[in-house]
């Protein structure tokens, strides 16, 4: 292969592809980034067998060809390149890079061992979302996914496309986050995406902006950002039927300032930290105020109250403070609404009613279900 490229374009493309290079892999080829010159484009691919990234950049191509470059080495090289035009030439054994007066002669890995690129079916369920909206959707649900590999199903985020809407849901069995966004396409498809893959897609969406095209297939999900795409394998297994978990109606409804409630819960729960297991934070709900307290006999106590409007009877309920603040943080909006039945039933966190002028997204699209701690 032989090509000339813009240094920053090449460095940026390599850095992006490097994110899915396999680190602890049994197949050595997975630790490499595959470069391929074809026509006037340079394609880069990497995969750790769970998530694959693919992108291409325009180059001045002189000779087509393929090279599998060790990923770490490529990363170190592109980071140190001087600011000058880059030219590359190689055969199946070595790749010579020249940038300004710097020359690198890199040993290559056998490119034949590298897995084939995932194929995306033409008729797959696909739709385009604004990158910002996609990133927000992922942020809102991904934290509720489990980090414990003991139950793989719970480490994923379920994306469920139906006519007109896409529902993202995640649960670690203690809390559940659900977000619904509009989905223009009609084809129905449900996939369970590993949380790490979705987080990578979110980072790309935030970094690249513009739009994301989601392609959902029975065996993989693809996130396309212009010339770049992330393809992830799916988690097998049945995601819990979360709809039946969402309570119908409530007996108590609390409304409060979101930022203030987060701050108070954080401050008070400091006394429960570092004691091995998490000490719950107690909320005592009065008609116009919330008493927040935490502590244990060993460490000490803390309490603070803040204004809040309760409709329904007074209630004392306790939560894992992290699970509570996670939900409050991603709910968004100035005000937040919490709905309760009793101290042993799940609570529901929703964004407060949006001001009439704000029609960006409707409040009911996000929901965070949280199981209390029994004390």
């Amino acid at each position: 292969m032989k090509f000339r490229a813009e240094r920053h374009e090449f460095a940026d493309a390599a850095a992006w592809a490097l994110r899915t290079v396999g680190t602890r892999v049994t197949l050595p080829a997975l630790s490499g980034v595959r470069l391929e010159v074809s026509g006037d484009r340079l394609g880069l691919r990497s995969t750790d067998l769970e998530v694959a990234s693919e992108l291409s950049i325009p180059v001045q191509a002189e000779r087509d060809g393929v090279a599998l470059v060790p990923g770490r080495l490529l990363g170190d090289v592109v980071r140190s390149l001087p600011n000058a035009a880059l030219s590359a030439e190689g055969d199946s054994e070595r790749l010579r890079l020249q940038c300004g007066r710097a020359r690198f002669d890199l040993r290559l890995m056998p490119a034949d061992d590298f897995p084939a690129a995932p194929v995306i079916a033409d008729d797959a369920a696909a739709a385009v979302m604004k990158a910002e909206e996609f990133a927000r959707m992922v942020t809102q649900v991904v934290r509720a996914a489990s980090t414990d590999d003991a139950r793989p199903v719970l480490t994923g985020v379920q994306l469920e496309a139906t006519a007109g809407s896409l529902t993202a849901a995640a649960t670690d069995s203690y809390r559940l986050a659900r977000r619904i966004v509009p989905w223009e396409q009609g084809a129905e498809m449900t996939v369970l995406v590993p949380r790490r893959a979705l987080d990578e897609a979110r980072r790309s969406a935030e970094q690249l902006g513009s739009e994301v095209r989601l392609v959902l297939e029975p065996n993989q999900a693809t996130f396309e950002f212009g010339d770049r795409r992330l393809v992830t394998r799916l988690i097998e297994g049945r995601f819990p039927d979360f709809r039946q978990l969402v309570p119908e109606g409530h007996e108590r409804r609390l409304e409060a300032d979101r930022a203030e409630l987060i701050e108070v819960v954080r401050r008070v729960s400091v006394v429960g930290e570092g004691s091995g297991s998490t000490t719950p934070v107690n909320l005592h709900l009065h008609p116009d105020s919330i008493d927040v307290s935490a502590g244990s006999g060993e460490v000490g106590q803390a309490d603070e109250s803040l204004p809040g409007t309760l409709s329904g009877e007074e209630l004392q309920i306790a939560f894992n403070p992290r699970y509570l603040t996670d939900g409050l943080e991603v709910a968004g909006g100035e005000r937040v609404v919490l709905e309760f039945r009793d101290e042993l039933k799940p609570a529901v966190i929703r964004p407060g009613e949006p001001p009439a002028t704000d029609d960006r997204d409707t409040a009911s699209d996000f929901l965070y279900l949280l199981m209390p701690v029994r004390i």
Binding site: Y174, P240, L245, N320, P346, L369, M371, V373
Partner: protein, 432 residues
């Protein structure tokens, strides 16, 4: 600290001043505990050799009466060998519930002397009676009265060592056996230790003893004569300091009244090495049930689950995982343990011993994160099962997966716990 003088036959006159005595530590050790309890239950066994232990293929002797010891039988010996040495011995399976009850009664008696009781096992404990001299008199008298009271109230023999520290007290009780008391006065410590074999020192196992023996170090007296830098070369620097201290009869460890359980575990040594993963998983379920029941009985939940395997070649591996939320449920323990087992990627490996352990214990009742996904059903089920087993015995409720043919055919002995080598018992913390 005030305690009622419930031990004494009669209160001695309180001395005007009560300085801390030179030998304040007692080690109380029941003689052939399990066997003695069995003899007490069935007096016709008196004066006969009695062995308590596992009767299965690899069962070991857990306890042997002194009549049996005369034939060279000792605890931890394979049962098959014990039977060859003493063919007319009465062999009984252990009844831990009974030993546990007696142990609690024993503990109550010991606590009547001083709150400073450090249980070492079901049948032995250290006591520090140095602070109770005014109330109870000198330590030796306390030891004698405790022995009498154990004999009178429990009908069981006990031996007592009275010494300046824990290490020496334990040596003394061993020398006092059976049914005796040995008081080692501080000035006599050197003379007492000098002729003892180095193997009598804590921390000196067969390997260290053999190593020392090669250099002609056989007795504690020999050991004391070894210069410290030479000893360090022989056994390593850390062990040498410890050994030198013990050889002088020095042991600074205090009596710690109650050591809270740091973990609970159960192990199974198989009659035959096992290479069937599904069998190992099933065994883990049985162990999980056992450990979970103990956790619940103690009112604690575990955050860390450990799976331990010993292969046929005696290599031992263990893997742990820490949970986000503590659990006392067999189902969760089992799922975690199986995950750890799968993580080892065993292929045609023969397993001799399988264990499941829980550490990082926290009070279970305090606060409990509830599950969204209806997983509390297991916890309710477990509790109902506990209640049934409490009334009708451990086999009254069990998992379908744990029912084997013997159980189905009504062979009750198959469901009974078998005593195996190193089957950890909650009442038997590891010796210091």
């Amino acid at each position: 600290m005030r305690t009622r003088p419930a031990v004494g036959d009669r209160l001695p006159d309180p001395p005007a001043v009560a300085p801390r005595p030179a030998e304040p530590i007692l080690h109380v050790d029941m003689d052939a505990f399990y066997a003695s309890v069995e003899v007490r239950r069935d007096p016709t066994l008196a004066d006969r050799p009695v062995l308590v232990g596992g009767t299965g293929g690899r069962g070991v002797v857990a306890s042997a009466s002194y009549e049996a010891r005369a034939y060279g039988v000792h605890s931890a010996m394979p049962m098959a060998r014990a039977r060859r040495l003493c063919p007319h011995a009465v062999v009984l399976p252990p009844d831990f519930a009974a030993y546990q009850r007696v142990s609690e009664e024993l503990r109550a008696i010991l606590l009547s002397a001083t709150p400073l009781v450090e249980p070492l096992a079901l049948d032995e404990a250290f006591l520090d009676v140095g602070g109770a001299v005014r109330l109870l008199g000198p330590p030796r008298g306390v030891g004698e009265r405790l022995r009498r009271r154990i004999r009178r109230d429990l009908g069981l023999p006990a031996s007592v060592g009275v010494a300046p520290n824990k290490f020496l007290a334990k040596l003394c009780s061993a020398k006092a056996k059976p049914d005796g008391l040995l008081h080692l006065r501080a000035p006599d410590v050197d003379g007492f230790l000098t002729p003892l074999g180095v193997g009598d020192l804590w921390g000196v196992g067969a390997q260290t003893a053999a190593r020392l023996d090669r250099f002609g170090v056989r007795t504690v007296g020999d050991l004391r004569a070894v210069p410290s830098h030479v000893l360090a070369r022989l056994v390593g620097p850390a062990a040498s300091t410890q050994l030198a201290r013990l050889a002088r009869g020095d042991d600074p460890r205090p009596v710690v009244p109650h050591e809270p359980a740091r973990g609970m575990s159960a192990e199974e040594t198989f009659d035959h090495d096992v290479d069937d993963l599904s069998l190992l998983r099933r065994e883990l379920l049985r162990l999980a049930e056992k450990v979970a029941r103990r956790l619940r009985a103690a009112g604690v939940a575990a955050r860390t689950v450990t799976c331990k395997l010993r292969y046929a070649n005696f290599t031992t591996v263990s893997r742990s995982h820490t949970l986000g939320v503590p659990t006392d449920q067999a189902t969760e323990l089992h799922a975690e343990a199986c995950e750890l087992l799968d993580g080892l990627r065993l292929e045609r490996v023969r397993v001799r011993l399988l264990g499941l352990g829980c550490t990082n214990l926290v009070p279970a009742g305090a606060a409990r994160q509830l599950h969204l996904l209806g997983e509390d059903r297991w916890s309710r089920l477990d509790r109902a099962g506990d209640a049934v087993c409490e009334r009708f015995g451990p086999a009254a409720v069990t998992r379908g997966a744990l029912l084997d043919e013997a159980t189905l055919s009504g062979d009750a002995s198959a469901t009974r716990e078998q005593w195996r080598p190193r089957d950890d018992d909650p009442g038997r913390p590891r010796r210091p």
